[in-house]
Point group: C2
Chain length 157, copies 2
């Protein structure tokens, strides 16, 4: 029964790529739990969606939709950077991972990270990196990451 339940949960919370229709399912409201994000017009959303989609597998945003409510409850993104070093290597950059505060404790964050990490590996990256707060470091350690460097930032606005 445990396996069956687990499988049913997995079925319920599938990780898939972002669709334009996810805007009406609370995708922007979910991002707002992460940082500043005013309302975005449908046109602006579609323009940005197509800009990102034009990079194909080089910039992927994934989401988890709660089938019962029709709401997007988790998301994350990864883009692939082409380098010259490491013998013309590639690095995956994970960004903007957030799980709805009402959907915590269901391992959705781990699912998102696994999806994005698997994608980076499949693209031939030699590593995948992300920046996070000190408090969130423990979560990423459970996902197989290790702390390495520090992040520096310069704001323009």
């Amino acid at each position: 029964m445990q396996a069956s339940n687990s499988s049913s949960e997995d079925q319920k919370f599938l990780v898939r790529r972002l669709l334009i229709s996810d805007k009406s399912k609370g995708f922007i409201e979910l991002l707002r739990q992460l940082t500043v994000c005013d309302s975005v017009s449908d046109n602006d959303f579609e323009d940005r969606f197509h800009e990102i989609s034009s990079l194909g597998d080089y910039h992927v945003i994934c989401v988890i939709e709660d089938e019962s409510s029709g709401k997007i409850i988790a998301t994350g993104s990864v883009f692939i950077e082409n380098k010259f070093l490491r013998n013309c290597g590639k690095v995956g950059h994970i960004e903007d991972v957030v799980v709805d505060t009402n959907a915590r404790g269901m391992q959705l964050g781990k699912k998102v990270i696994a999806f994005l990490t698997d994608h980076a590996r499949s693209m031939g990256c030699y590593k995948v990196i992300l920046d996070c707060s000190l408090e969130n470091g423990a979560f990423y350690e459970k996902c197989g990451f290790k702390q390495k460097e520090i992040q520096m930032v310069k704001y323009f606005v």
Copy 2:
């Protein structure tokens, strides 16, 4: 005289975008001072160069050439990430900054960072970020950056 000397130095150490011909000027050898980087064939170099160039202003690698020796003595890169958050904002990611060990003390690192930061600003980014070792944090503070988060990494190879 001071101003004249300084201007002459500036002229001597111009920051410009990477050219294919920079491979024969020690660009790969310079990257090797940063991390693992085996020899790269001319074909592989050109393929990667064109992949990166296809992103236009969204992925820029800059270099400083020592005109007297014809060698590349500093480099750095920045790519621009399109986001949905921050009202469909953009973030600049600075990567792979290195100055030749024999060319330290001439503010070349600051020049590279200024070039990459200015580019990110001109592209409409709301911030520019980079990851570095704890030891290098002080250098980036002099460039106007502040420490914010921690970097987590997962290696595949």
